[in-house]
Symmetry: C2
Subunit: 201 residues, 2 copies
Amino acid sequence: MLPKALLDAIDALGRLPGVGPRTAERYAYFLFRTNPTVSETISDALKGLHSGLKSCPKTFALIDSDKSVSEFYDDPARDRTSVLVVEEPLDIYAIEATKQYSGTYHVLGGAVSPIDGITPDQLHIKELISRIAEDCVREVIIATNPSVEGESTALLLQKLLAEKYPDLKITRLARGLPLGVDLSYADQITLSAALSNRTSL
Amino acid sequence: MLPKALLDAIDALGRLPGVGPRTAERYAYFLFRTNPTVSETISDALKGLHSGLKSCPKTFALIDSDKSVSEFYDDPARDRTSVLVVEEPLDIYAIEATKQYSGTYHVLGGAVSPIDGITPDQLHIKELISRIAEDCVREVIIATNPSVEGESTALLLQKLLAEKYPDLKITRLARGLPLGVDLSYADQITLSAALSNRTSL
């Protein structure tokens, strides 16, 4: 019943994550009403997305497809003996925004999750283990998400790394109260962690 | 810092209505991770959106660009003497889904809204007025949204139409309780309308 061009756009936009038919309809109708350059810009950007991007073979960060290795790895100002391990490529930019870290990164590509069928061998753990010897890594900072999957991935990594490299320093991001959260709203686990990791003033 | 192809996709997707930088990032990263055919499908659909769609010159419904007039107008089963007036083209499909209406439609293209700078002359009111004479319309059903803008547009239309065509029947969609809403949660205006428009059992 709907005109084909509109139906096609609604169907296509409905494949974005978390976008249902109503939202897709809203997006499509908005794009039809607004200046045609907007849909052209989106169309062109999506066309170039896969050809313009690839994974760094060392860190598995996202890089421009004309580069061979991530800037987080080949920049001489980066300390290769420190590796911060994250689940997803975009997590790197959250850490970079703190301007507190000058080591390199390693993207696992997810977290171990039996429910979603993600097993340890689907993550870039093997590559992490070989990097540690190659780059004489002295510290691995595990920065997986504070979720069930992230925690179990962290424990697994800790076990695998400690077995293979007994002298390696393995740390993880501190657990504690986030800025601006009222004490009475903090969950039990966060509060316990904040208490046992308390720092002297 | 982010690879250019990803930045471009995030910027472009961030132009969709209600999509902020975080959601755009999520969409772009999802599209990069998933099968490339998905971003191609979206890209192609958006490219064809403007070339494949146009407004019907009679009803202002959206039509395939190779058609001259909307199927809601040229279908002989449609009763042209009844015109249901809506704000936006997609409202038509909500009415169609009831399978209760076999007249034609007229899309205003919005509602009068001084705040958004939408004046009556930007809406397709003139075209509605001429259709009434051309098609010997006997009833106009006003189905603008039950919002401040929709209500004032309905009142304006009623005034303009009644002036020009004193014999025209002008109705509007009933106000009352929607299905499944608890009486105690209904707002005052809806409840007043439901009470004064009560029907006999």
